[in-house]
């Protein structure tokens, strides 16, 4: 894998072959994806099911709030790196309120008061700065990514409270809880996706790539306040291709 990554880093610019083949590392990716899927089916999903069965949803959302709060410094860092002072103030406020009145982050008092969390990470920041994502990349255990987002994940992990201030064993423990809690919240969604999809690998790849493009563009998801009517931001889709019939250009109007 390292060899392929370095070929990408040293070789042709990402855009030149991204257009030709959206997934040049497909065979390696599919192997890792199958591995991750096996780990999930045999280990993570059963653990998450037991967790989901044992803990009431209120407790699960508290755990989610707690780990989200610990990760807020990373979000704050990316607000600042992307030049978003408004969001930075929001996330700082969230951290201050939730860490104190919210009992060390267990309760999202800021969210209840209308200060919503922002969703920024280093992969997005690099994207905003113009760094191309590079080819789709599936990481062992970590799942869908890209060279850019993989670098971002490392940086973000270092910028969380547990990644930076706490010792390694505690940090690993918190990360494990975070992972199981997240997986428990996705039990139905993942089951549905596995059953409904025609090619689960392609389903995940397409969703990941579209979702990340949207996040980097801060897409069409309107920020609180401004009405998107006549909004300037372009959708992250390759529209002309997506919403165009091949035979339409020839004037062949199908009357359905």
């Amino acid at each position: 894998m390292l060899a392929t990554v370095s070929t990408w880093l040293l070789g042709a610019p990402a855009s030149s072959f991204a257009a030709a083949d959206p997934d040049p590392w497909q065979s390696m990716n599919r192997s890792i994806f199958a591995f991750n899927d096996t780990v999930d089916r045999w280990f993570l999903e059963p653990v998450a099911k037991a967790y989901d069965w044992a803990l009431p949803s209120g407790v699960q959302s508290m755990v989610g709030n707690f780990t989200t709060n610990l990760a807020t410094p990373a979000v704050l860092m990316n607000d600042l790196l992307q030049g978003k002072p408004h969001e930075a103030v929001e996330d700082l406020t969230r951290m201050a309120l939730n860490s104190t009145f919210g009992m060390a982050g267990l309760i999202d008092v800021a969210g209840a008061g209308g200060v919503r969390e922002n969703d920024e990470d280093l992969g997005q920041t690099l994207g905003v700065w113009g760094v191309p994502a590079g080819p789709y990349l599936v990481l062992p255990f970590l799942g869908p990514s890209s060279p850019r987002d993989a670098v971002g994940q490392v940086g973000d992990a270092a910028a969380t409270v547990h990644g930076y201030f706490l010792g390694t064993p505690l940090s690993v423990g918190i990360r494990a809880v975070e992972l199981v809690n997240l997986r428990a919240s996705l039990l139905d969604d993942v089951r549905d996706a596995r059953e409904a999809s025609f090619d689960y690998y392609v389903f995940v790849r397409n969703a990941y790539v579209q979702y990340r493009l949207g996040q980097v563009a801060d897409g069409v998801a309107p920020a609180p306040g401004p009405n998107p009517v006549g909004g300037a931001e372009a959708p992250p889709l390759d529209e002309d291709d997506l919403y165009f019939f091949d035979d339409e250009a020839s004037g062949d109007e199908d009357a359905n």
Partner: protein, 221 residues
């Protein structure tokens, strides 16, 4: 006095600029608004109709689903969707197979999204606005309010089909359904040909009907 003249000139210049800006913007606004209004209205109507069915008391799950299916069949342009989803591969299907695919894909979507109706928990949908797109399409932006998916964005790509605005794509949290299925179907068609895709759809639809409303699998219960 000299300063008076300066102010006078500045005032006139400001007025002139303001007039020019208005002259440019008024026709733009006038042209943009009627474009999106019918699509917005159609989306709002469809959402209201679906929410009314979800909130109506005393319906069985099957009745609820049948009514929502009817709304969906009126409001979605499944014919266009199935063409978009096949993309370039459509030429590999015979005319009959294209029709067969359209029917199977419609049933598939109905099965997949129909069973989600049962997990409705009083969330509502807020229509945020709309944007005119290329080819005369309009995207209507909405957001889920409340429930498990609070804050999730759902955008509807609408197209005017003979005077009626219908949905041709649903974009959930920036992920276009048409794009996602196009990629998956492209992969299946490449490996197994059109017949392989039709077979898989039939298989999934048969399964969807067989285990209609399966009990949620709760471990340890």
């Amino acid at each position: 006095m000299q300063t008076d003249r300066v102010f006078e000139v500045a005032r006139r210049a400001t007025l002139a600029v303001a007039l020019i800006v208005c002259a440019i913007q008024v026709p733009l606004a006038a042209a943009a608004e009627p474009d999106t209004a019918p699509a917005l209205a159609a989306t709002q109507e469809a959402i209201d109709a679906v929410l009314a069915v979800l909130r109506e008391d005393g319906l069985t799950a099957d009745e609820r689903r049948a009514r929502i299916e009817k709304i969906a069949y009126d409001r979605f342009d499944f014919s266009t969707m199935s063409k978009l989803v096949l993309g370039r591969n459509r030429s590999r299907f015979s005319a009959e197979d294209q029709q067969r695919f359209a029917d199977l894909f419609r049933s598939y979507l109905s099965n997949q999204y129909g069973h989600r109706v049962e997990s409705y928990e009083q969330e509502s949908i807020e229509v945020l606005g709309a944007r005119a797109e290329s080819r005369g399409d309009v995207t209507v932006f909405t957001k889920v309010v409340g429930g498990e998916y609070d804050g999730a964005t759902i955008d509807y790509r609408m197209r005017d089909t003979g005077g009626t605005w219908r949905v041709i794509d649903v974009i959930i949290e920036q992920v276009s359904l048409v794009s996602n299925y196009r990629d998956q179907f492209g992969e299946v068609i490449e490996r197994e040909g059109p017949a392989g895709l039709l077979g898989q759809l039939e298989e999934k639809n048969a399964k969807g009907v067989a285990d209609e409303s399966p009990p949620p699998a709760a471990p340890g219960s």
